[in-house]
Structures are given as C-alpha cells and as structure tokens.
Symmetry: C3
Subunit: 359 residues, 3 copies
Amino acid sequence: MELQKPHLTPPFTKGHISVARMTNYWYIACQSQELTDKPLVRTVIGIPLVLFRGGDGKAAALLDRCPHRNIALSLGQVVNGNLECPYHGWQFDNSGTCQVVPGLCSVPDQSGTRAVAYPVVEQDGFVWVFGNADIEPETLPYQFPNINDSSYTTWREEFAYECTLHAALENITDVSHTPFVHTGLLRGDPKRKQITVAIRNQSNGIEIEYLDEPRPSGLAAQIIAPNVTEVNHFDRFLLPSMAQVEYRFGNNYNLLVTQAMTPVSDFQIRNFLVVTFRLGLPGWVMQPLVKFLLSSIIRQDGVVLKAQAENIRRFGGEQFMSTDVDLVSSQIWFMLQQAERGELRQPKEISEKRVQILI
Amino acid sequence: MELQKPHLTPPFTKGHISVARMTNYWYIACQSQELTDKPLVRTVIGIPLVLFRGGDGKAAALLDRCPHRNIALSLGQVVNGNLECPYHGWQFDNSGTCQVVPGLCSVPDQSGTRAVAYPVVEQDGFVWVFGNADIEPETLPYQFPNINDSSYTTWREEFAYECTLHAALENITDVSHTPFVHTGLLRGDPKRKQITVAIRNQSNGIEIEYLDEPRPSGLAAQIIAPNVTEVNHFDRFLLPSMAQVEYRFGNNYNLLVTQAMTPVSDFQIRNFLVVTFRLGLPGWVMQPLVKFLLSSIIRQDGVVLKAQAENIRRFGGEQFMSTDVDLVSSQIWFMLQQAERGELRQPKEISEKRVQILI
Amino acid sequence: MELQKPHLTPPFTKGHISVARMTNYWYIACQSQELTDKPLVRTVIGIPLVLFRGGDGKAAALLDRCPHRNIALSLGQVVNGNLECPYHGWQFDNSGTCQVVPGLCSVPDQSGTRAVAYPVVEQDGFVWVFGNADIEPETLPYQFPNINDSSYTTWREEFAYECTLHAALENITDVSHTPFVHTGLLRGDPKRKQITVAIRNQSNGIEIEYLDEPRPSGLAAQIIAPNVTEVNHFDRFLLPSMAQVEYRFGNNYNLLVTQAMTPVSDFQIRNFLVVTFRLGLPGWVMQPLVKFLLSSIIRQDGVVLKAQAENIRRFGGEQFMSTDVDLVSSQIWFMLQQAERGELRQPKEISEKRVQILI
C-alpha cells in the first residue's frame, strides 16, 4: 500500500544514496581456509554465489541457483567434484557445465543446462571472485604488499560494516572524525596544528599524504610508536573497494592497514582486514597490541557508520554538504561512479593538489 | 526508499513468478469441524474472509471487513444468527445483508450497507468457498472418490506449503525429484529402468500414466505393497489446485492420495490431504503406516518447496529450463494461466503424448 | 520483487487512506519535564526532530540530521549550549546555525552548514513545535482552558494510538461506538432514546451539542456525576489534531477532556491528554476515579483503532460508507484536507445543522 508522499518544506533529501555497483573488478569472497568440501554461500556485490572446491580442489563460484528449478545449489553437496542440486540431482562442474540430468534418456543440452560461473583466483590465502560471469578478466586481484616479507608480521581479520561502500571508504581515508569517534585512542588533543595535505589522483585510486603531521595524540600512537618523532602518514583509496592507512616511522618502521571490502548488498560490507607491520619490538609482542587497538578503532567506526546509514535511510536519501576538511570524499564517489560505468580502464595522469587543515 | 536497480550481466531473472489467481473456482476454506459458533478467519486466494454459522447453522463467508468503518468482522461475535461488528454493532446475516445499524432512526439503506458475501457449500466434511463474490456458481465443488465406500479407509490431514501453487502442483506430479528429496523412502535405487509415460490432457486437468513401471524402490512401497509385482501408477492435476497420486496394485488394492490445495497468498498454501486406501491388511493396521509414510514425504516436499520459493524471491523471479523429464510442468502452468483468464470453461478433446524416462 | 496485482471482483478498496499532513500548525512534541540537558528524539508529522535546551535553557528543535554527513544529531551531546554532532564534531546553536567545524582553517559558510530549525514555543508545561521550518508562525499554540483556574483540578497523561489522525478524531467525537467498545463503562443500555444533535461548523473546527441527552448509562457517569439529572454534552474537533469532550452538570460542575494528538507517522499518534474538572467532591478524591475511568476508555479505543488500522492496511485502503449516525466524520476529513492544502486560514461563518439519533 502506498500513501501519498509528504510534501514538506524544505524537502529533506535529494533522494540519492551513494551506492555504486562495479562489476568489472575482483572482490574477496572468503578466506581460503573457509572453503572446504562443503558448498559455501557468499554474496558479492549483490550476486548470490555458491563457492565449492571441485575434484582437483580448485575453488569455483557459481550463481547460487540451479538453472532447472532455481533452488539454491548451496543446499546441495559436492559429488565426484561436481556440485549436485538437492532437488532433482543435476550436477555441475567447476565451469558450470551440467554433467548429469538424472532420468533423462538423452544427453543434456549443453547451453541450456549451464549454471552461471564466475571467474575465481585463489591468492595469498583469499578466494577472489570477479564481478562479471562467464568472461576472461583482463586484470588480476590486488597483491597485498609485505605479506611475503619475513621481516613483517601479518594479521588478518574479518569484520562487517553496515553502510554503503562509499561511506566506509570516506571514513577510513578521513582524519577529521578521529578525535570524536576514537577520542583518546586516536587523536582528540584539543590543541590542533595546521598542516598541509597533498592529494594525488592516481589511475586506480587516490593517495593522501599528510605533510608535517606530528605523531597523532592518543593511546594508539603511544603504544605503537612510543619513541617516535618523525612520522609519514598516507591514506589511500584503491579501486574498487579498498582503503589503506600507512604510517612510516623513520626509515625502518612501518604499519600498513588495508581494509579490502566486499560489498554484500547496498548497506552490508564484508571487510577483510590485512595488517602488515614492522615495528620496534618483535611481532609476537606487538601483534596483540596492534590487534586490540585496530579492532577497537574499527568497531567504533562500525558503530558510527551504521548509525549514519540508518539515518540516511530514515530520511530516504543523502543530503551531504562538504568543506575543505572532507579531503577526498567527492573524488572517491566520482571514481566509484566512473568505475560503475566502466569508464576507468585507461590509466590517467597523476595530479596533485594541496590543502590546509587543522589536525 | 528505492535505489537504482543493479545492471548486472547476465541478468539473473525474467522477473516472472508462476503465480495464477483463479477466481472462478471452489476452494476448501476449512474443515467442517473447525467452524463452530465463533467467527473464523481464513484467507482464500488472497481474499480475507470471515466464516461463521448463521442461525440455521448454515456456513457463511463474508469479506472480513465491515462496510462501515472497515474493521475486521472476525473480531465480532454471532448474535441471533447474525455477525455483529465489534466497533459500532452493525449486524450482517448469512447473505451479507445488514440487519441492524444501532443509533440510526431510519431503516438502513440495503445496498450501501451490505457486506460482501461469497458462495459457500459444505460437503464431505469440508467448507468450500467460491472465489467470486455475490454470484451463483455454475459448478459444484470436487467430489472426493471412495470416501463413502465402506471398503475404503479415509485419512484426512491439513498441511502447509510455503511456495506458489504451480510449484507444489509440479512437485506432486513429478517423479524425478523423489530419489533426491525422499531418498530411501520413495525410490533412490541407482539402477534405473527406462519406461514409457503417457500424458493425457483432459478438459479439467492432466493425467500421467507410468507404463511398465516396476514397484518403486524404497521403504514406502515395501511397507504399503509388500508382495506386489503388478503396479499401475497415475499422477493427476485437477483444476484449479488439486494434485492426485494413485497406485493400483492388481485389481483389488488401491491407494489414492489427493492434495486439495487452497492458495492463501502467492507463497502460502493450505493443503487439505485426503487419502483413501484399500490395501492387503485392515484399515486400522495400515492407517498409522500410511500416515507416517505420507506425512514424511509431504514434510520433505514442504522443505524443498520452501527453499525453492525463497531462492526465487531472492533472485526476484524465475528463470526455469526444462527437459523431457519435466513431464507436465509447462502444461500445468499453461492451464493455470488459462483458468486465471477464464478461458477454460468448455471441455476440450483429450489428447495423449508419450515420453521415455529413466525411473 | 513485484508480482502482478490481483484482479478480484469486486475490488476490495478505493486504495485511499485518510491521511493528512498539515504543516502549518503547532503540535506538542513533548512535555517540558521530558526535555533536560540531553538531546531528545521526537518525530512530529513524520519529521524526525532532535529537541534540546540551549545555553539559556531555551528549548530548540532541529531536523535530526547533521547537514554534513547526515548522522542523527540526537546521538550527540550539548556542549556550551550547542548541539555537537557525534561524527565530526560540528556544533549547532538553537537557531541551527553552525558555530564550529573542527579541522577547518577558514570560517564555515553560514548558509551551507546550517541545520534545519523548527519554531518552538514552551507553554503550560508542553514544548510545542511548528510543522514548517525556518519561518515565523502567524499563530500561537492552543491554550488549554481552565488549567490556570484554581477551582479546577488538572490531570495530564501521555498515550499512544496506532491509527490515522482522522480515525482517532472521528472516534473521540462519535457516541455510537460507545455501547459496543465501552460496554458497561460508557452507555450500553439497550433502551435507547431519540435525541436531537446540533452540529456547528466553526472556523477552526466543529462543535457537536447533544440536546436533551439523558445522563449516559454506565459506570463512568454514575461515579463522576452520581446525583445529576441535568447534563450538557459537547464534542469538539479543533484543528489541526485535537478532540475535546465536555460534560457540564448543572451550572457548577464541569469535566473537560482534551486529547491533543501529535501524528508521529501516518499510523502512529502521540496523544497528550489534558483533563480539567470541577466536580462535587474535592479534586484529590475525584482524580483517581477520573484517571481510572478515562484511562480505561482510552485504552479500549486504542485497541479498536489499532484493529481498524490493521485491517485497512491489510486491504490496501479504505472503503467506508456512512449513515446519519456518523455525525462529523466526513466534515473532519474535509477540514483536514483543506488544512493540508493551506486553505483554512480565513475564519468562515458558523453554520449549524440538526440531526436525530438514538442514544
């Protein structure tokens, strides 16, 4: 039942929400260890998938729907390396080809009985799925830096955000919310310093470098880099759905936090966190501290992002306004839109602009 | 709030779901024993009804909404054979005529104050309601065979399916799912035999006869027909919403399973099961066994049908493909659509076609 | 997923529901005592508001959405008399002006950073909010009679109705439901008397006077006015959302029940009840009795109104029919519609018509 819409003055919203659906990219569907001999359900940019390992142990991703009577294939089982439908026993191999139609006297028609299959690459402990079915992707999944360097410690974890991809990306690459959302943990000192920020548009994303930034106030920096004065801080957006925060302390120490986000639906994100670090103390000493601090920060961001998403939906859409402090929010949104339309395949020139903020 | 729709490749669905609404037919609303002196709420093909027994004990069905201020009449009570509205005390008789408007000095206007009334027939322990209000139906409800034959035992039960009517009808008239959904109970022997199936289109439905079918493997047949070799097996679809499975064992023994289904809404069915049988042992011996076996089978079908419906809705519509093994699915759907448009009133010629399947 | 709509005969509804949204009026948002130094969430005619007390203790109402990133301001806190956003720390004063944008080197742009502010008046213990933002209202909130007269006792309470404003207004100004919904408590004597009712259309509402009405049967009248024979009974609708019931017993005694209703959404009403009375016994004796009786009556109305709203929504809209007993329902709806369109600003002539009913 639809009632006449309210005609309030002023209108509350433009009715728009920053949702982009970029199909021409790789997304992490799950961690390798999650995919065993049982079918696994995962939704990637709104596409319901069933993941399984075929007879050769190779990961496969099919649309989670039998082409015959449309029941979820994920309710079935793997039989001789094929995925068997639970309703009428049709069997599909890694490539989606139907191998068995029980009861049929003739050979099944190959094209009509196919299940939709998505390209899969297993790399660095993650199962990546491409957002377009039945094609050969021209690109490879993202390669996480440092994780094969033995002088680095790597910590991985899975989180969830309940918000749009754009909202999460702008949050992670934004320092101005940190004193309010992470008070005491990351910044929050009322005495601020004016610094210069360099913003670099790149072919596959945006890099922010904070020039002359002091070591952030708050517990996190005190624990992770207790005796440090020289800090280099970068925030990065990487297409289609990654945000990266890097701190370099002098020449030797480094903390690289990558959130590789897989949009499940318009307001649900599965967030695969990969943290690599080389800090003053041994990895086994630092890891619990890094884990505690970053988990806390991500959990706080999750709360504020969920609240933001709920209020936007309550109003039926966004009505944002930005200032100079919102460094890259509009550019990220612009690139997401371009990527959604498939207009981002050619690398562009790197351009740089500089902005002043109080940090 | 509506977001822009995804534009994924390939499209997931044709956006269609096999839902038909046939108003020109009789449906079972409830069992006779369920209808006492209290108003009873039942929804039949999406129509919210209140059933009650008038002063003469005659069953009546009104639209469950007072014509005055639209509150549910089922919240009221029967007063002197009339159904009284709980809000302002208006009273309606079996035919929907308003007999009392309290507070009104004049006589109530007969046409304006009427409640919408549906034709009702009580027959064989069921209260049948016609899907069109305020008309004289040209047909009578279905007459269940054998239930008045004392050599037969009858067992009745009420079940629910959470799927479309079409999905339930094609499931009941389909043998190819039985080895997978009812493994061990009904078929499942990996050694299959090629048989011929005769499919007969009739004026009011479709009959399938399985020629040369051996006694089905599995527990059910072993218990119901332990020493039988000769089997005659029929599956039938009867307009608008019945499916029937009949097994004849030799000349004397017979098992007739009728599922008379009343669509409540597009994805909810109230399933009135009527089983009549004459088997080797006395009825009181066989009934618990028949009940156990059929209840198990229907429950298993209910699970798979619900899963199918959920996945179809998750994808926003159906995208079916069929093979020769799907004997009558398309024809059932075609007849449901015809019946919905009211094009099935004249009996047509009986036609027969033959198909080979592995059973 | 949208299925084809049912095409039943006859159609169940006109698809209309009596919902009006009148923005050019004052509504009670909360009681004064509810508004402390914490932000308070209230929704008034569908507008999500955050109420708070600024530095001077003055009540303020802003749209509950930060103009920057649209999170709910009600999740923030009051800092130096400004409301601070929980996400990036923007601060807004009573008038919605943004006073602080942390991190920004320049002065924030005044027009772009404003929060939407609604006119607020605090009067007689209530915080009233005007339904149009950023304007100077030409009217003042309603002044409850008698509450400053020391010979009267006043009782206030907050209730909720789950129905449309129109349904609640017609219920309160309707006597014909009372024998059925409030049986034994208010009317219900099967012996009815024919009386004359005067209906007066006024500039800002409608007044009903029941001429020659006997003291109502039922417990309520026996307790409140035990020895009374002379009764004057008025029901009133006052724009935009008030209904009033007044009983005068002789020259001295009076019971005035005002339900000042604030529509929260189309089917939710916050009902601020104000009862002033001067009866035979002292106020402290009568108050518990008045409270018990009126609470019971309002609770019974709440149940029936909720059931009515649920059934109307189940049918997708209203299909009402009225008789002479429905004294002012259509006129109230007509005035609500006029008020929604802003056509009711000039006072009209008072007109009176007379109707006979059985009470």
